[in-house]
Each structure stands twice: as C-alpha cells, then as structure tokens.
Symmetry: C2
Subunit: 225 residues, 2 copies
Amino acid sequence: MKTAILGTGTVARTIAARLVELGHDVTIGTRDAEATLARTEVDAMGNAPFAAWSAGNPDVTVASFANAASGSELIINATNGGASLHVLALVGAENLSGKVILDLANPLDFSHGMPPTLFVKDTDSLGEQIQRAFPAARVVKSLNTLNADLMVHPDQLSESSTVFVSGNDADAKHTVTALLEDFGHRDVIDLGDITTARGTEMLLPVWLRLWGALGTPAFNFKIVR
Amino acid sequence: MKTAILGTGTVARTIAARLVELGHDVTIGTRDAEATLARTEVDAMGNAPFAAWSAGNPDVTVASFANAASGSELIINATNGGASLHVLALVGAENLSGKVILDLANPLDFSHGMPPTLFVKDTDSLGEQIQRAFPAARVVKSLNTLNADLMVHPDQLSESSTVFVSGNDADAKHTVTALLEDFGHRDVIDLGDITTARGTEMLLPVWLRLWGALGTPAFNFKIVR
C-alpha cells in the first residue's frame, strides 16, 4: 500500500522500516525534505542523524508533507501530539480527503514538567480533534498505547498482548486492523467510534508510571477475559 | 485483621463476604446502621435489599461509619467516588489516624451522561485528595481497575492478570499487597507514591469502553513484559 508517514522521529522511522520490510511503498513526509535529509546532528531525543538513518533505509522516500500524502492511500500520523494538527494543516485537507489517517500520537503536555500531562482528555481527544479538523478524512486511532518497537514487533514480548482501534469508519478500521495483524498483533479490540480514543489516550498516564516502576518501556497492556 | 468497609453496595458486599471467608473480622460502616439493616427494597443499582444480604452474611457486623472504623486496623473505601470525602469526614480523622485506608473508589462524574467522565484527573486524583484530607492516614489506592467479583476472585479469568498499588507508605502497601495475594492476585505492581493513582484512575475511561466493546465487565488488564 502507498503509505505516507508524517514525522521523522523514532516512531516514524520504526514504522517506515517495518512497512518496507512488509513490501509497502513508503514516503516519509517532513516540512522541508532537503533540510531533513541534510541533517547530520543527533536529534533532540538522541536519535541518529536523519541522513544516516536514511542512508541505511534507501527504500524510504522523503518528501514534503503535502507531496508525501498526495499520492498515498494511508497517512500515518507519527508526529508529536502537540504538533499534529499543525502538521496535518500543512499536509492540506485536499490531500487527506477520503484517506485513512492512522493516528498514533498522544496529546502529551510537557509544560508542567515530568511526567507529562494531557492537553486534551476525558471530554475530547486528539483523535477527535483531528477528525473534526478534517471531516473528509477517515481517522483511526491506534498503537498510541505502546512503544515504537512493540508497535511493529509485538512478538518481542513474552506473550501476546492487546491493541485497540477507534474510528467512525468501519472500512478504515478494517484497513488498519489488517496492517496491525501484518505487524504481528493477534488481539485487536475495536472499541467503537473515534470518541473512544479518549480511553486509549488516557492510558498514557499509567503507561508513563509503569515505565518508571518497571524500568523499561518494553511492556504492553493485555486485556484478559 | 479487623477491617471496616465503608459502603453498602456491590463492591462493599463482595469484599466483605470474601474477607469473612478468609477469616477476617469485618464490619460494614454506613451512615445509619439501623436504617441500613431495615432496608427491604432493592437499591438504585438493582441489588438485593441490604437486609436480605445481611441475613445471608451473619458474620459481617454493621455499624456507623465512626464505630466501624474506630476499632479497625484497615479501612476499605468502597463508597462512590463522589461521596468518598464526605463519608471519610463522617468517619472522622481521629478514627483514621495511623490506619491503612485501601481506596477502591473512582472519581466518576455521571452529570454529563454516559459514559461518565472523571471529576478529578491528570494533575490530581481522588487518592491524593483523600491523603491530603487525612494526612495521618496511610492511603493505598488499589483494585479500582477491575470489577467487584474479579477484585476478590481474579482466578475467574482465563489467566493471571495485574493489579496496582499506589501510596506513600511502604508498610501500608505491604499490608495491602498481602491482602491482594490472599484474594488470589499473582501480579501486583507497586507504581510508586499516591500521585501514581492518577494513572490507575485514568484507566476508567478505557475500562468503560472495553465493557461496551466486550459486552462484559469480566476482564482485566495484564501488563505483559
């Protein structure tokens, strides 16, 4: 599938590499492709320079947000939650119309120190904000409840765990669920419409504290019935 | 252990019966013991009249909030979250001083319709509100992330699942953890101080939506590593 990934950080890179491995046609969208490809410094999170990563992943095209999205059927939002609406505006509503947006972002607010809080919650969610801003797109919230490695390689854990999908469009949720299964997920729970993203985004506070208590981000929620 | 349970609903009854089964000395605390024992109507949630339940559970004493708590080492808050601070004020700070309060309540706000939202979240929690209101008590938040039956009989699920403890006092968390293990819990994660109750209370929104999606409250979170 022709897929655009918005963002250039760890989540974007991890998803991009895995999609290429699975045979997808992947373009990373960024504000200024030339500037991104010229980056030789480590990023704010300590990741390898984008140029080095790109050299090791030659099958991933890099383009502007709009160009990456215009030719793609699936748009994956792997930007920071605080930047997501702005980036999607740069992509442009015309490039999102009818498309599936897989929204991985969390509405984390670091302005009050650590651990971060959520800038939208409980009576609204980032997933809903994106759906309202781009009503012709088909937003599916998923994979925001586990770390990048486990998003695409859930078999690294000792046993099967659970991921969730939230969205208004059944076909879009089927598309995303098939992708999740390709990644290796065996238990995908459809929570309902996009308002149910309130639930999965509000998992972040306990996720952050579990990271502290367990000393590793290599864990995931499993819903035991 | 001499234990007071605050509340007369399903959670209080379920915990009380299980504690008696495990050999504890249990008193249910209520506003007016005589009035509670005289109740012959089903309650707002459709539960059997308290009088009928009490007749079937003769080993559970019923007393006023203050009398139930004054002679007990462990106080279990099984009231509705919206009533918890008021009920604990009726118990009285002098009856809570030095005691372990196991807080099971969730800060659910039903005033905006279903599903409920949370009246405190993200930058504060009900567990913290209780700890601040009764600084001489030792509050441990736990078991607010699963339904009453599973709180005390987790072996009803197909496999082991996870529960959490949050609190400032290590000894109080050990007391609660031992009780959870007596109930049958095999994976108890100590998340840290009482501020980590923000994380587990914020699990409620996804819990409520999972109940809808799965069609049953008989499920629990497991943290797969």
